[in-house]
Amino acid sequence: MSTPLLQVRDLATHFDTAAGVLKAVDGVSFDVHAGEIVGLVGESGSGKSVTGFSILGLVDAPGRIVGGSVKLDGVELVGAGNAALRAVRGRRISMVFQDPSTTLNPVLSIGTQMRLALAAHERLSDVAARSRAVEALTRVGIPDAARRLDAYPHQFSGGMRQRVAIAIAMLNRPQLIVCDEPTTALDVSIQAQILTEMKALARDSGTALIWISHDLATVSSMAARILVMYAGRLIEEGPTAIVLRRPRHPYTLGLLNSLPGNAVPGRDLVQIPGTTPSLLDLPAGCAFAPRCTHADGMCATPPDLVRDGPRAVRCHHPVNAERAEVETAS
C-alpha cells in the first residue's frame, strides 16, 4: 500500500476548563489514504468533531493539542507555524461544518466569500476568480450559478447553503475534506441528495473524505472504512460492511442493536445501560467498562488497540457476533 495521505498518531486534545481538564481526544491514531472515504462515528461528546478540528489546528481556547502527530504527505501539522497551517487549510485540507446558516457570513454575498477563499491561496484576476467560483457552484449542482454569485446566504435554502459551503471547500481542489456532520441540520430528503452528490464529487475529483457523524446510517452509505470513537478514544476500526455485520467491540454491537431500524417489532427497544462518562472524570481502565455486560477485573487496565489485518479493536473481551445487515441508505 502506498504512503497514507494523512497519518494521525496518538493525537491528544485537552480542554482546560474551570472544572478540570477535559480529555476530549485521548490518543487517537488512524490513516487516511488518497481518494478514500473514511467514516468517523460516535455519539455527542465522543471527541469526533474535536478530532476533525485538531487535524486543521482549529481548536479554540481553552482547548489545545497536547500531544501526538498529524502528518499530511509526511509533513507534520501539529505545532506547525501559522503560515504553514494557512497554506494547508482550504488548499490541501478543507472542512465543511454542520450548520450552513452559521458558517456563511450573512452580510457578504457568496461570491465575495468565495473570492476570499480563492484569494487566500492564489492571485487571480477578478474575471478568473469569478469563473472559478461559477464553475465550483455549478459542480455542486446550483443552477444559474453566474447570477446566484451576487446573492446572499439568506436567499438560499438550507440545502443550497450547504452546497455553497461544499463548493467553497472544493474551490482549491483539496486532497482531503473533513466533513463534520454536514447533513445533520438538513431535511431528510435533502440529506440523501447531498450524500449521493458528495460521494460522486469525491470520486470524480479523487478527494479523500473524513465523514464525521453520529448517524450510522449515513456513514455506512458513504464510507468504505469506519472508525468508532468512544469517550475520546478510538475503539473499533475496519471496513464498513464488515464492522456493521460483525462488530467486535461491545459498544459498537450495542449501538447497532439499539438502532430503531433493527428493533424487533413488539419488543422493547434495546438500550445500552448507563450513560457516557464525563470527560472530566474518565474511569482508569476501559472507558466503556461501567456499561459493558462483558466487563471483568481485567477491564480495570486500559486496553490497547489490537490490529488484525484491516480491523482493529480496543477491548479485552471483543465479541464475535454475526448480525443481519444494517439498513443502509443508498
Binding site: A18, A19, G20, D60, A61, P62
Partner: protein, 295 residues
Amino acid sequence: MTAKDATSPLGRFWVEFKESRTAVAALGVVGVIVLLAVLAPLIAPQNPYDLAKLVLMDARRPPGFVGSNGFTHWLGTDAQGRDLLSAILYGLRISIQVGLIAGAIAFIMGATLGATAAYFGGRIEALLMRIVDLQLSFPAILLALVLSAILGQGKWQLVAALVTAQYAYFARTTHGAAAAERSKDYVDAALSTPLSAARVVFRHILPNCLPPLIVVATIQIANAISLEATLSFLGLGLPVSEPSLGMLIANGFQYMLSGRYWISIYPGVALIVLIVAINLVGDQVRDQLNPRLKR
C-alpha cells in the same frame, strides 16, 4: 470551591465573580464609599451645613491647613470656608441617595411598563414601545436639563427628572427579555396548567428577565450619579443648601485657573472613584451574564 460545587445560582455567580480581582476590588471600594456616606453625619469632622460654624477667613485654604478654631482641614477648605473633607462626605451621601432612589423608581416604573407591554402584546405593546423608543433616542441629559429647568430646583424635582430620563432603558430591556421569554415553550406549558397567568409571569418569566435588568440597573445607577453631578455642575438640580459633589466642583472651577485646584479636584476624585467602581462591578456582572461569551 470550584464552580461545579456551588449549588445555588447566586453561589455560582459569586464564585465566578471572585475570579476577577478588579471586580472584587471595585466592589470593595463601592462598599467602603457607601459605608462612609451612610456614616457621614457621625464621622465627618465638621457639619458643612451648619453655617454658623463656618469661618470665612479660613476660606480657600490648602490641604493640611489648621483653621482658626484649631481644626485641621485635611483636604483644605472651599470658597465658603467649609471643610472639604466633610463636604465631600456629605456630597457622596447625597449623590448615592439620589442615584439609588432615582434608579430604584426608574427600575420599578420601567420594568412594570416593559412587562405590561410584553404581556398585553398587540396594539398596546406597539404603542408603549414606540413611546419608549422615541424617548430613548432623546439624550438623557437634555431631558433631565429641560425637566430640571421647568420643575425648578430641589431634591425631588431632580429625582423626577432623573427617573424620566432613565425609566425608558429599564422598560426596553424588560420588554425585550419578556417578549423573548413569552415565545418560549415553557410558558405555553406553564399556562396550560392551572397556574394563574400572574403567577406564571412573576414566578417564571420575570426571574429570567432579571440578568439583563441587573446589568442595566448597575449602569443606570452610575449614570444617575453622573447625571446628577452634571446637572448640579450646570447650576440646576439640587439647591445650594444641599451641596452635592457636582456643585462643589462647580464652585471650585473659577479657583482652579488661579491654582487653587483642591476645591474642585478632590470632590471630583471622590465622584470619579465612585462611578468607576460601580461601572467596573457592572462590567463584570455583564460579562458573566452574557450567554454568548460562554465557551
